[in-house]
């Protein structure tokens, strides 16, 4: 059982992360709120508790790496990076604007703290595998975390990457599978049923956990279990989540995959986050 003080701190932090996500997408009038909100609790746990990183030294050789394979939900990543101090919070207001370090999809050349440019689905996990393999070959102890979408897992390359991680015993690789059950054109079941993702990741060679991705206790317990695991296998946390989590009119609504709220919707969304609903 996780330390309850920590849980409360992270829950409060996640609330702030959600508000910043909504504010930046509202300001930009463009971006992907749904998947950013479904990943927000896990991202908060990673950035404000789990990752061994140094915002003052973003290229530190021994840092843990993070790969946002579902690159379109970069508002959640940018928020975490800003709140951690990689760049001033005000920069969040430049999302998707000309010359911004906060491109529509993450750009490692522009944005400090972004370990790899992503945006084309299915590709990030392979890069994470390369990073994890490098740590093994160089005898380094850093770990590599990658956030992957369930819709994204339609891409065959995800499974090529997992097989490679298993082959090379990359127990320093942690996949966080954001199982929000929605993708661009509809539900996963309508568009391309993924079936039992826990069984699939296990069959492909991962040590796998299944959690509620919005329950901070479960998230922290899973990350603790990952650290303690001695199986020698790559890790996968399949996290059941709700797309648009925390905003009454966005939850489980396909359209909020890639749409910005108007002023009225934004006010309602902020209220929902602040007060809960």
């Amino acid at each position: 059982m996780a330390d309850q003080e920590k849980v409360l701190r992270l829950e409060a932090q996640a609330k702030e992360v959600r508000k910043e996500i909504l504010t930046m997408i509202h300001t930009a009038q463009s971006g992907h709120p749904g998947g950013s909100l479904s990943a927000a609790d896990m991202m908060t746990a990673l950035y404000f508790d789990e990752l061994n990183i140094d915002p003052q030294n973003p290229k530190w050789e021994d840092r843990d790496r993070f790969v946002l394979s579902k690159g379109h939900v970069c508002p959640v990543l940018y928020t975490c990076l800003a709140l951690k101090g990689y760049f001033p919070k005000e920069v969040l207001g430049t999302l998707r604007k000309e010359s911004s370090i906060l491109q529509g999809h993450p750009d490692m050349k522009r944005c400090p703290g972004v370990d790899i440019s992503t945006g084309s689905l299915g590709q990030g996990l392979s890069v994470a595998v390369g990073m994890a393999l490098c740590a093994k070959r160089d005898g380094k102890s850093y770990r590599v975390f990658s956030m992957v979408g369930d819709g994204e897992s339609d891409e065959g390359q995800i499974w090529e990457a997992v097989e490679t991680a298993a082959k090379y015993h990359l127990d320093n690789l942690v996949v966080l599978l954001d199982r929000n059950r929605l993708q661009n054109d509809g539900t996963c079941d309508e568009v391309m049923p993924n079936g039992d993702l826990v069984a699939k990741f296990t069959a492909f060679g991962c040590q796998t956990w299944e959690i509620d991705g919005h329950n901070m206790n479960e998230i922290l317990d899973a990350l603790e279990a990952v650290r303690a695991d001695q199986s020698g296998k790559p890790k996968c946390i399949v996290a059941h989540t709700v797309k648009g989590k925390g905003v009454s009119f966005m939850e489980n609504v396909v359209q909020w995959h890639g749409m910005a709220p108007n002023d009225e919707q934004y006010a309602q969304a902020m209220k929902d986050i602040e007060e809960g609903f």
């Binding site: 084309s120 590709q123 996990l125 994470a128 390369g130 490679t164």
Partner: protein, 313 residues
């Protein structure tokens, strides 16, 4: 003397030997194989330097991503496969994860052009250099023989950034002496003449060289340039040829669309001067046939080069 010698080698052999030498010198040199290490000559590397080799199986897209990940950690990975797969199966991964972030990844491809002759169209990479040429930050190179390939593989390893390298499956004549030097992006003028210029890339250099010498016998002085790097193109050398000669003939074992010939035409068009004739694959697929027959059927012959040069005069 640069001339067609009696010996020949597949340039994939040159790659296999040089990458092993480089790997022994520098532990950051990696090979990422896709289950065709045998054909691409990286088995000795895998055997002697297993800690610097990764084999992801028949999964080129993943291979490219893994290489990108290795590169972010300071490695210099050479993804090794065939030209068709290296330029098409994983092209979007190259674009997104290698060229856009300008990572130090090399895409090393055997079976360029018609050289996997018997394998047929599915395995003949005839569009590859053109496809890679259109991606920002990419450098595109093909050595024309054993020595130049070795030197260019080494040069690519020392050049920071994405590089596409193309090799031949089959043996092609040796041309250069051991002591010849090569600079990425700089054409080699291997014959000089004021009448006409031949600009060629890759293993068909031997045909161009023979054509050049035949023209000389008839009193026609031809320049011959080895344009081993088609991107960045040595525009200075191309401009000089366009301005000083009566015409330029390009020769390549590649679709005439978007390869060397197109690149030279782009320079001519923007310059507003010079005549260009492209010799290459006339926008059609190959088939299973002897390599020489494939070239001949597609008009890539000594005679065609000689005739094209004469037509410029």
């Amino acid at each position: 003397m640069v001339q067609v010698k009696n010996t020949s080698h597949p340039t994939r052999d040159a790659y296999g030997e040089e990458i092993l030498a480089l790997g022994k010198e520098n532990k950051d040199i990696y090979v990422v194989d896709c289950d065709i290490g045998k054909s691409c000559k990286t088995i000795p590397f895998a055997k002697e330097l297993p800690e610097q080799q990764v084999n992801v199986g028949i999964a080129e897209q993943n291979a490219c991503g893994v290489a990108a990940g290795l590169a972010t950690c300071g490695k210099i990975p050479f993804v090794t496969t065939y030209a068709v797969f290296g330029s098409m199966r994983m092209v979007e991964q190259i674009r997104q994860e290698v060229c856009y972030p300008k990572l130090n990844v090399k895409i090393a491809c055997s079976h360029g052009g018609f050289t996997p002759a018997n394998d047929g169209a599915s395995h003949q990479g005839i569009e590859d250099m053109g496809i890679l040429r259109t991606i920002p930050n990419m450098t595109v190179i093909m050595g024309c023989d054993y020595v130049s390939t070795k030197k260019l593989v080494r040069a690519a390893s020392q050049h920071y950034g994405p590089v596409y390298l193309r090799f031949t499956r089959d043996a092609v004549p040796d041309i250069y002496d051991e002591d010849e030097e090569f600079v990425i992006g700089k054409a080699k003028e291997i014959r000089s003449g004021k009448d006409v210029a031949i600009i060629a890339t890759g293993e068909i250099m031997s045909l161009a060289l023979v054509a050049c010498d035949k023209l000389a016998e008839e009193g026609i002085q031809a320049t011959l340039m080895d344009m081993h790097t088609i991107k960045p193109l040595d525009t200075q050398a191309v401009t000089k040829a366009l301005k000083e000669c009566k015409g330029v003939v390009t020769v390549e074992d590649h679709n005439v669309i978007n390869g060397l010939g197109s690149a030279v035409c782009e320079v001519a068009a923007e310059l507003g001067c010079g005549k260009v004739k492209r010799i290459g694959i006339p926008d059609c697929f190959g088939e299973s046939a002897p390599y020489e027959r494939l070239l001949a059927k597609n008009g890539i012959t000594v005679e065609a080069i000689v005739d094209a040069c004469k037509a410029m005069l």
